[in-house]
């Protein structure tokens, strides 16, 4: 993605569309949309260079509300559509908006392969742990035992943790945000935009209709201090207003009181740290452990679109731009005289 200086200074209003936003009142998607519209004008990218691609689901209505190029595709396939677009138009800033059903159930295959290839996409997965648009069935991230319309006796499906999937799929950038942590969300989107390669951002998003309060212990006053740890590169893993910290011992996290062990004993977060550490960090959850938010892993490796286009350039340098006449005349030929 080339970051050009915009000729016109863009504002939040430049990214709003005339379409009436039609999520349910109180939906976490509103807050996420607001952050996108706030962050996009600050990235130094002309508006026409943004493409927002989605699949199917509540979250996937997103492109209609962003005044950029947008494509509301079919269920689960947004990463594949975005891949074709990015390969042929590497200068674009391409965003994939997906959900836990769209991205991890029907579209799981495309999601993992996009991350494995490290295509320069920003994939944002709104995780509300429920199927909203189809009115309340359990999703691949719903907790074991969950009672929903399709599981009246409790779900016997073991859920995915999206960031574990991402790490298993060789993702070069993974982060977790929450709809109700607005500033952090904005910062993470900015970092995701800057990363070259696939940036995978999971956003905990509240569905007030079918799964209200799924993340309240992480996002609400009164509980969040105990349950939320915002990680920062080079800084110790502390939470609960600095009173508590996490120490990793052979990738096993344990919670300690900072004044008992001293701040220097607390594990320092490294975005380029070992995969095992990132996996253990991403998988921390209550009640014993806090949930990590922030950029968990960020490593540099070449992106697929960059490599593909470099091959094209190399071949053109070597052979010259392909000539149609030569192409037709290639291979074994013979002439029939008149």
């Amino acid at each position: 993605m080339s970051v050009a200086t915009p000729l016109v200074k863009l504002s939040r209003n430049d990214f709003k569309t005339e379409q009436e936003v039609r999520w349910c009142p109180g939906c976490g998607d509103y807050a996420i949309l607001a952050q996108f519209q706030k962050v996009f004008p600050t990235l130094g990218i002309p508006r026409e260079q943004f493409a927002v691609i989605s699949g199917i689901g509540c979250s996937s209505r997103f492109p209609y509300y962003m005044n950029t190029y947008g494509f509301h595709t079919i269920h689960g396939r947004a990463p594949a559509v975005a891949t074709g677009l990015k390969i042929m138009n590497p200068e674009l800033s391409v965003w994939v908006i997906t959900g836990d059903g769209d991205g991890l159930s029907i579209g799981g295959n495309h999601l993992i392969h996009a991350m494995r290839r490290n295509i320069d996409l920003n994939i944002v997965l709104f995780n509300n742990q429920i199927y909203g648009l189809t009115k309340g069935q359990y999703s691949p991230t719903s907790e074991f035992g969950k009672r929903t319309k399709s599981t009246p006796y409790g779900s016997v499906d073991t859920p995915f943790m999206p960031l574990s999937v991402a790490l298993g799929a060789e993702a070069s950038f993974i982060a977790r945000a929450a709809d109700r942590e607005q500033k952090l969300l904005g910062d993470i989107l900015t970092e995701a935009a800057k990363h070259k390669g696939t940036s995978f951002v999971e956003i905990y998003q509240n569905c007030p209709i079918f799964n209200d309060g799924a993340f309240f212990n992480i996002t609400e006053k009164g509980t969040k201090d105990d349950n939320q740890l915002v990680v920062e590169h080079g800084k110790p893993l502390v939470f609960n207003k600095g009173k508590q910290g996490v120490i990793f011992d052979c990738y096993n996290p344990r919670v300690v009181n900072v004044d008992e062990v001293g701040l220097e004993a607390i594990t320092i977060h490294r975005e380029d740290g070992p995969l095992g550490y990132h996996l253990a960090l991403a998988r921390m959850h209550g009640p014993e452990l806090p949930t990590a938010l922030g950029v968990i892993r960020r490593v540099e490796r070449p992106s697929y679109d960059e490599l593909v286009n470099a091959q094209v350039e190399t071949e053109i340098d070597k052979k010259g731009r392909g000539d149609l006449r030569e192409l037709l005349q290639s291979g074994h030929r013979w002439t029939v005289e008149g």
């Binding site: 509301h72 891949t83 042929m88 291979g331 013979w334």
Partner: protein, 631 residues
């Protein structure tokens, strides 16, 4: 084999033998999957093309890469028919069979007419190999083959003999024996060795000992023919009257690939292919992956759906975009095709048809995806369907599909099949100036831009490259309002858009040539065909007309919408027969559309039509027009 009337000649190159002139010959090379029969066939084909014969080929190989050695399941065959006149098919029944082992003999024996020549590798007919295919060890000695002219050749022994001084291992030496067979056929049919020798030098430029070994064996095969007394006659097949020009050999898959490279060039754009490997379409992906310096990007996707989805993304971005597949893959792409129809983006879907349903017969040919191509989607989702007629026609068809897709802003289905995809024919290379231009206009004007405003003639919506300032807009699979392209649930708008999308496709009928007709425009019986059966139907029609029957052949390349001469033609014949390799899919469409009592001539065996079976069925039908004539 058809013989011309001239008497044996004293040819200085005949090595003292009588030389007989032939008009056409069909040879089948058959052996184990690992015996190199496809390569042998391809080499014989190249040399035959270069000496000026017209020809058609049919590679016929098993789905297993290496089926158990020596079994019937593992037999790989390559058939070529060549001649001094127009050749449209690889021949119904081979005049010459080269059998490298008992399994190859067993499989192909039923296809031979009495009097056919059989060259057998006697070294391979030991007790164990014969037992494997349930043949008596005495098969070459008893009267099983008495109806044929059998030439017993110890291929393996001769090969080892020729390579006595070579440092290669015995195993490596034995792998050269297909070149012994090739050399021998070059002798029998008077072809030069030099083209294959040159090819070997290029192929093994880095392994000169391999090139040398194969050349020695090739020559040994030729010389065996010269010295053996069992071959009393050699054959001469004069060059065919072929339109002057530069020719090359192409398979349908190669022609498809370079057709799309050409189309993108003609549209002054870059080509994107999103594809998942599937037999028999993968060679298009292989071929296109070589053309990076033409700006071609090939993307081997994680599955069939990602193949087409990525192509849709590239089309949204403003590139010439295609996806390639075969029947089962097309089934997976159905939903995404609907998306391309709804978003009115240009895209070509290539379906190289194979035997179905399900996994079916992956390496065998069939035409049973026509209805899937026409209707295999949810909702009212029409799209143009164009079917290539011959291997070389795949080139023109690819260009035509890109022309229609970009002009009408629609996905287009290009149908080929395993038979023309792998079959080869000489192709007169066109001049670049002969090719149609594909003018593509991208919308850049900001004022009054509406994403779904239609061209008054074509009904196409504007194509906008992502990245064009001021034209930011959203598209998607939800129903669109005419003009603005905003999401619309309005009942009237939905029906309007359904009809508009259908009419847009229907209007293509004003923009395509008439269907090709062989014979008169009226008569007793019209054979209607489509796609890869062209050669067989045309050859059969020629035979029928020579016999005095008032039979014509109309061939559809544009299957949907159909050319304007189709209806009057259907109404100008006493009997209309749709001949196709399925249970009557075109027949169904013709009957439904024109209310004409079309009869069916159908075959679903994974094999192409034989000219003789068409001729006999049509003659039977002409004698008793009430019957259905199902093969």
């Amino acid at each position: 084999m058809s013989t011309d009337t001239s008497s044996p000649m004293g040819d200085p190159e005949s090595n003292g033998r009588s030389v007989e002139s032939l008009e056409t010959v069909a040879i089948r090379f058959a052996g184990d999957s690992g015996d190199g029969m496809q390569l042998t066939g391809t080499q014989f084909t190249s040399t035959t093309a270069i000496v000026g014969n017209d020809l058609a080929t049919f590679p016929d190989y098993p789905a297993e890469i290496r089926a158990p050695a020596g079994t019937v399941a593992g037999v790989s065959g390559f058939q070529i028919q060549f001649g001094s006149l127009d050749i449209h098919t690889p021949g119904d029944r081979p005049d010459v069979l080269v059998a490298m082992n008992p399994a190859a003999l067993k499989v192909n024996l039923p296809t031979l007419e009495p009097g056919a020549m059989i060259f057998v590798n006697t070294d391979a007919f030991d007790a164990r190999s014969c037992e494997k295919v349930d043949m008596p060890e005495t098969v070459l000695e008893d009267d099983t083959l008495h109806a044929f002219r059998v030439f017993k050749v110890p291929f393996t022994t001769l090969t080892r003999g020729a390579l006595e001084e070579s440092a290669l291992t015995t195993r490596e030496k034995d792998r050269c024996k297909n070149f012994l067979a090739l050399g021998l056929m070059y002798f029998v049919f008077g072809r030069p060795l030099e083209h294959t020798e040159k090819w070997l030098d290029q192929k093994f430029a880095k392994k000169p000992d391999m090139a040398d070994a194969n050349k020695r064996v090739l020559r040994a095969g030729f010389n065996y023919g010269v010295t053996t007394e069992t071959i009393a006659t050699t054959y001469k097949v004069a060059p065919a009257p072929i339109k002057p020009g530069t020719y090359r050999q192409v398979t349908g898959n190669t022609a498809t690939a370079i057709g799309f490279v050409a189309a993108a060039k003609l549209a002054d754009n870059d080509l994107f292919l999103g594809s998942y490997p599937i037999t028999p379409a993968s060679d298009i992906l292989h071929e296109l992956s070589k053309y990076k310096h033409f700006g071609v990007r090939t993307f081997q996707a994680e599955d069939e759906i990602a193949g087409i989805a990525s192509a849709i993304g590239a089309a949204f971005g403003g590139s010439i975009s295609i996806t390639t597949t075969s029947g089962p893959g097309l089934a997976l792409k159905g939903e995404a095709i609907g998306l391309a129809i709804m978003t009115e983006l240009p895209l070509v879907i290539v379906n190289v048809q194979r035997g179905g349903p399900s996994t079916g017969l992956p390496t065998k040919t069939e035409q049973s995806d026509l209805l899937q191509a026409m209707y295999g989607r949810n909702g009212e989702a029409p799209m143009p369907v164009v079917a290539a007629a011959t291997p070389a026609d795949c080139f023109d068809t690819a260009i035509e599909c890109v022309r229609l897709a970009t002009k009408y802003m629609t996905p287009v289905m290009m149908l080929t099949d395993g038979y023309i995809a792998n079959g080869a024919e000489p192709w007169r290379v066109p001049d670049v100036e002969e090719l149609p231009k594909i003018p593509v206009q991208f919308r850049t004007e900001v004022e009054d831009f509406k994403p779904y405003e239609r061209d008054v003639v074509t009904l196409a919506r504007p194509w906008v490259k992502v990245g064009t300032p001021g034209l930011e807009h959203r598209i998607g699979g939800l129903e669109k309002a005419e003009g603005s392209g905003n999401v619309s649930y309005d009942p009237g708008n939905h029906e309007h858009m359904i009809r508009r999308r259908a009419e847009k496709v229907d209007r293509i009928a004003n923009d395509i040539p008439d269907a090709e007709v062989i014979g008169d425009t009226q008569g007793d019986l019209l054979i209607v065909g489509w796609g890869g059966t062209y050669g067989a139907l045309r050859a059969a029609t020629t035979v029928l007309r020579k016999r005095g029957h008032k039979v014509s052949h109309m061939h559809l390349r544009h299957v949907h919408p159909m050319p304007k001469n189709v209806e009057p033609m259907l109404r100008s014949f006493g009997t209309v027969v749709a001949a196709e390799l399925n249970l009557g899919q075109l027949r169904h469409i013709l009957r439904e559309r024109f209310l004409v009592d079309v009869k069916g001539l159908n075959k679903v065996q994974g094999q192409p039509f034989m000219v003789s079976e068409i001729v006999s069925k049509i003659e039977a039908l002409l004698g008793s027009p009430s019957q259905e004539a199902v093969l």
